[in-house]
């Protein structure tokens, strides 16, 4: 086996070429990491959002709340279904929720922001158990009070006691809540009654969120509702419901991988160039090594290792650059709904980035290494 120090010293001697070739890999891997972190971030939010005990009921044909309209009749029917957990007041836990995307002007210049507002009753807090008030208190109905999600607070730069305009009305922020990373954190929550009154949606809800006795019951409950003759509605466990929201990212994920593969092909040509040049500069070295008794296979492995060293350095730098976006928050819109998310660069992404880079190294180094193996020692020393 040719000592690896031979390769790495050579790389140091040609450090400019080494860096430049590795740089090509760095860029590809950095781009791949950022794209994956983007998708991963959205998925993390969506996967984090559902509670397995909950079932989300939407109007027939809907997969998200924006277009869904469920009427009071349906809500009452559902309350009669067995297997729903009882709340503190002894009634079945069916949280009637009205979710509205409100276009709020932020200045006279015609700039708008989209507020995601959820109106719910007190039992909502018994259904969404992961939601906890971290500052202030819950809203009380009838007093134009709202609580805001942690992310909303950050993005809007609003403080406890501040005012938020929703429609024509000014509401007061009385609390800030955390939802363990769920999508709710970019929402505004307020009393159902007040919201439906203001926007003329009385007796109509976007969704009903039902709590099962335990997680294992939830799918049955969903099934029961979906197959009921008396109820025409969609019912899924909350986990499924949010997983569905992340579906849009599938195509981005695929696109990211495809783009990265094509970019990788470009970078592979780069490393092939470098390795061919390295070998043509070192035919004499190769010849001497062969005369010293190293076998063809060993020469080939040696140069492949060299290509891998370059690609490993490049890949590692790339994931480091990619890691720079970790935690950066952005907003992603699906339809009228926006999901605030933070880029997630996890171990999986890092591993994928490095593996991707090494694969490029092998592909790009193979042909030159093979040609190194075929160097005729006597011919080249003449």
């Amino acid at each position: 086996m040719v000592p690896v120090s031979y390769n790495y010293r050579n790389l140091l001697v040609r450090w400019k070429t080494t860096l430049m070739t590795a740089g090509g890999f760095t860029l590809v891997v950095a781009a791949l990491s950022v794209m994956l972190a983007f998708v991963e971030g959205i998925r993390a939010v969506c996967n984090n959002s559902g509670e397995p005990e909950n079932v989300v009921v939407l109007a027939k044909g809907n997969t998200d709340e924006v277009l869904s309209r469920v009427d009071d009749q349906t809500a009452r029917e559902i309350e009669h279904i067995s297997g729903i957990k009882r709340g503190t007041d002894g009634r079945p836990l069916v949280s009637r929720e009205l979710f509205l995307v409100v276009t709020q002007p932020t200045s006279e210049l015609g700039i708008y922001e989209m507020l995601q507002v959820r109106g719910l009753r007190p039992e909502g807090f018994e259904v969404h158990t992961r939601v906890s008030i971290v500052e202030g208190r819950r809203f009380s109905s009838g007093r134009d009070e709202i609580i805001v999600g942690r992310l909303f607070k950050e993005q809007a730069g609003i403080e406890l006691g501040g005012q938020v305009g929703i429609g024509r009305k000014k509401w007061t922020v009385v609390g800030v809540f955390d939802a363990e990373g769920a999508v709710f954190e970019s929402e505004i929550w307020c009393g159902l009654q007040e919201l439906s009154q203001q926007f003329r949606r009385k007796g109509s809800y976007s969704s009903l969120v039902i709590r099962a006795q335990d997680p294992l019951d939830a799918p049955n409950l969903a099934q029961k509702i979906a197959s009921s003759h008396r109820i025409s509605a969609e019912a899924r466990t909350e986990t499924e419901h949010f997983a569905k929201q992340a579906e849009d990212t599938d195509s981005i994920h695929t696109a990211g991988i495809v783009i990265a593969i094509f970019m990788a092909i470009g970078a592979v040509f780069g490393i092939t160039n470098t390795m061919f040049a390295a070998i043509s500069q070192r035919t004499k070295d190769i010849a001497v090594m062969r005369l010293l008794g190293f076998r063809r296979g060993e020469i080939m492995v040696s140069f492949l290792v060299e290509a891998l060293l370059i690609s490993f350095v490049g890949g590692l730098l790339g994931t480091l650059v990619g890691y720079g976006v970790n935690g950066l928050t952005l907003e992603f819109s699906t339809g009228a709904k926006a999901i605030a998310f933070a880029f997630v660069v996890d171990g999986k992404t890092v591993a994928l980035g490095v593996a991707f880079s090494l694969a490029m190294g092998v592909v790009g180094g193979l042909l030159p290494a093979w040609s190194a193996m075929r160097v005729d020692p006597l011919e080249s020393l003449r």
């Binding site: 090509g24 277009l67 309209r69 995307v101 429609g167 970019m263």
Partner: protein, 388 residues
């Protein structure tokens, strides 16, 4: 001059493997750039070209998606100086039972009589299909991308599982295809069928107005907003341009990623070219010293090195973009064994071919100028003392 050319051409063919690899890298990079860049270019084009300041969109002031009482139609369209108008009823839902997000159909029920006049981007609609829908109540003009995704043919029927109107799943008869572009992912159908099928005569989603000029547009907008200022359903009137800009703003995070990818591509291209040129100049140190001894000026060496890079960069940049364009055009004409849905959605415009050449040239220039400068400064005495 002739020798310079001969030298350059011959230098390029000296290490064929390297030139080919470099060219291939540039070709692949420009291909990706062209395909990726087409998406942003299309989004920008749709926002700028079809959004006018003489078309107004009347929507619910607060709630998205918009919903207005249908009695507003009469009131709004009777305002003075409104030249033409139409309405939209959203009829959205899934195209099959899978309920996959890419099988979501965005139906728009609207007036057919002035369909083209009120919907810029429909100019290329086949007049025959427009006639057909006038005589076919359940007729639908379906966007190309929907047709592709569902593998539908004209003449076929389909049922939409409505999300906006649960339980009111309507059947449609495809009478024509809406070309790719702004409306490629929608389908249009008749508003009378909508009302009959859904029974919904209470609400309308959007009212569109056409006005003579921007100034009257502003007046009308003010009038209409004023009209409902104190009613329970307030309206917001915007020019199409403003509305389009706002909607485009929502795709920002994706566009930011796309732009980053484009930037990375360009830098990567530069790095590969630069590396290849540095390697080749380093190998030719002696030769360049000889050229200097023979009296060629340092600038000659710069021109020689940069030109080599420029030729490779420009040609392969153009070739890469042309390949992507060709692929997209074949895809468009259904000449490929598999239809690439993405390319149908974001076809590569021919203007990307010169753009690819330019980018290839730019990357080549930037990638070669430093190696060329280094080569220019080669000290003849040093090169020869190395050897002796």
């Amino acid at each position: 001059m002739r020798t310079l050319c001969t030298l350059i051409i011959k230098n390029l063919s000296r290490n064929r493997v390297r030139t080919t690899l470099t060219a291939l890298a540039v070709i692949v990079f420009t291909m990706v750039y062209t395909v990726v860049g087409s998406t942003t270019s299309l989004v920008n084009r749709l926002v700028s070209s079809t959004s006018s300041n003489t078309r107004l969109v009347v929507v619910n002031r607060w709630i998205t998606p918009s919903e207005l009482p249908s009695r507003y139609i009469d009131q709004v369209t009777r305002v003075r100086n409104v030249q033409d108008w139409t309405i939209w009823h959203y009829y959205f839902g899934f195209l099959d039972e899978s309920k996959r997000s890419d099988r979501f159909g965005l139906g728009i029920a609207t007036r057919i009589d002035n369909l083209q006049a009120m919907h810029p981007g429909l100019e290329e609609l086949d007049p025959a299909s427009l006639q057909a829908i006038k005589h076919d109540k359940i007729g639908a003009l379906v966007g190309l991308h929907m047709m592709d995704a569902m593998k539908w043919k004209v003449g076929q029927r389909f049922t939409l599982f409505s999300a906006t109107h649960p339980g009111k799943d309507l059947e449609f008869h495809i009478v024509g295809v809406v070309p790719a572009g702004k409306w490629g992912s929608n389908f249009f159908f008749r508003e009378d069928y909508f009302q009959q099928g859904t029974g919904d005569d209470e609400t309308v989603n959007v009212i569109w107005l056409r006005v003579g000029n921007e100034e009257t547009g502003r007046q009308i907008a003010a009038t209409v907003e004023q009209m409902f200022a104190n009613s329970r359903e307030e309206v917001k009137v915007e020019t199409e341009a403003a509305s389009a800009a706002r909607i485009a703003g929502k795709t920002e995070s994706i566009l930011a990623i796309v732009n980053m990818v484009v930037l990375v591509l360009l830098i990567d291209m530069l790095v590969v070219i630069s590396n290849s040129i540095s390697i080749s100049t380093r190998e030719r140190r002696t030769e360049m010293a000889v050229l200097k001894v023979l009296g060629f000026s340092p600038n000659f060496i710069i021109v020689m090195v940069v030109s080599e890079a420029l030729i490779v960069g420009t040609l392969s940049g153009g070739l890469g973009a042309a390949l992507a364009f060709g692929l997209s055009a074949l895809n468009e004409a259904d000449q490929l064994p598999y239809t690439i849905a993405f390319l149908r959605m974001f076809p590569v415009p021919v203007s990307f071919v010169p753009r690819g050449m330019f980018l290839g040239a730019l990357a080549a220039f930037m990638g070669s100028i430093i190696p060329a400068w280094t080569a220019r400064g080669i000290k003849v005495t040093e090169v020869f003392s190395d050897i002796a």
